[in-house]
Symmetry: C2
Subunit: 301 residues, 2 copies
Amino acid sequence: MQIKVLEVGARDGLQNEPNFVATQIKVELLHQLINAGVKHIEAAAFVSPKWVPQMADGLAVVQSIWPDAQAQGVKISALVPNDKGMQTAISAGVHEVVIFSAASETFVQKNINCSIEQSIVRFQPVVQLAKSLGKRVRGSISCCLGCPYEGEVSVATVLKVIKQMQVLGVDEIDIADTIGVGAAKQVQALMQAVSHVFPIERVAGHFHDTYGQALANVAASLHAGVNVFHSSVAGLGGCPYAKGATGNLATEDLLYFLHGMGLQTGIDLSAVAQTGAWISQHLGRPNGSRAGAALMAKKSY
Amino acid sequence: MQIKVLEVGARDGLQNEPNFVATQIKVELLHQLINAGVKHIEAAAFVSPKWVPQMADGLAVVQSIWPDAQAQGVKISALVPNDKGMQTAISAGVHEVVIFSAASETFVQKNINCSIEQSIVRFQPVVQLAKSLGKRVRGSISCCLGCPYEGEVSVATVLKVIKQMQVLGVDEIDIADTIGVGAAKQVQALMQAVSHVFPIERVAGHFHDTYGQALANVAASLHAGVNVFHSSVAGLGGCPYAKGATGNLATEDLLYFLHGMGLQTGIDLSAVAQTGAWISQHLGRPNGSRAGAALMAKKSY
């Protein structure tokens, strides 16, 4: 069986890097990942550079990798917060745009200064424009397993947000554990509930490894029928709500797990491990992938 | 349901530390873990200090924690390689002795310079003595999911070693993934096969997190009926076959997972996280537990 792995290292991963990562490094990172067989890449967030300075060069990044992506059949996605972001996404030629909200009123209020419902209604013209241009639209829902402000998040709230995004016309839903607090039993129950309101083959598990649970949560999601997962090369990324904590699920760890399950991804783990070692060294941070670090340690014998 | 968690940080964890850890630190570590509710502790290896200098003070460590352990109903185990080690274990008053072999002829040959069968036969008098004194005996089998020399290890070999240990009279079997290469599907298949030859309630999963798979392998083992797991506070330990790679499954990550599954351990995760942060700082190494690091980061707000 084929599993769709969406690489988010260049966006969700780098977004948390304190120092600006040069455009050419971002482009090189994405080229390497494409060469490793990655077919789905979240490459940029077309948000205001005032919010996220690291994503200021998104247009240049996407334009640079576009020909290579096109030639290799790679789908590029980007976050768009509004109509302006959508216009940039159009000029960049991304295949998929990502709209976002959260399953916590407090989180949305603090981040976008409105209610969950308002946050989604605002995306209506953006989604309509995307659809009219034949773009795929993903709806990303933060804090599905817990909120840094509210603590527990109810399944009912997640389902409500999904239904609102469904009305808008999103093609795929991301169930994101933004602060990595989800545990396997909870994840499986949530994914099962989600499968009753949205086609589970178009639901993605986006897990952060803050508490070391990400891979166990992938396993739990697989049991519930999920076969789309997000991950970040070398586990790039962090958690703004717990300084020093681990970031996204590392792509290398995910690939090791999926391939071990006899599932196909079309991605070369060894090549991703090389890329993970390279980008970690470039950023001057320890390799956040355990499988990546182990594979590279083995090679250096 | 109650899960038995055996804390191996003071033995399998510290064993890989390059610098000698003072006896009083080892004792303090074990006291803290006992106070956190840990009921099963692997505290020492009564091997020659020439082999493992770090374990040279095993007798003193066990004697120091013995009264506290006795008062709290904590079971202390120790590795014994031979009759001499067994004599030390007796004088130390451990409750359980651990004999060991591996599911790889090459590994046993390189480590103990004999065949698997010889390695087990040699333990016959040791086990008899232990049994006659009412000690519990555990049989630990290294390399059950892969060998640094032979690569793949067959299920048949693991079952053969189990049967030989069973003849000797061991009470519990440790299925150890010494180099952390096991993947969930393989682990589940192995544990299912093991359950046909040995009572699964007395089979332990001992996973190293070298490739980030340990917790997914715990989940797979639970599915196969295993309810005894080994872990190491702060993920202490390393992998001598891949320098810089991760060590044992971290106790904090395991507890977060098990408690999230609604399973009981009787252990206070928050207290273990404190201990993990303390020992990591003392050893001057990064905290190898993701849950531990995240919990401590949260506390420091």
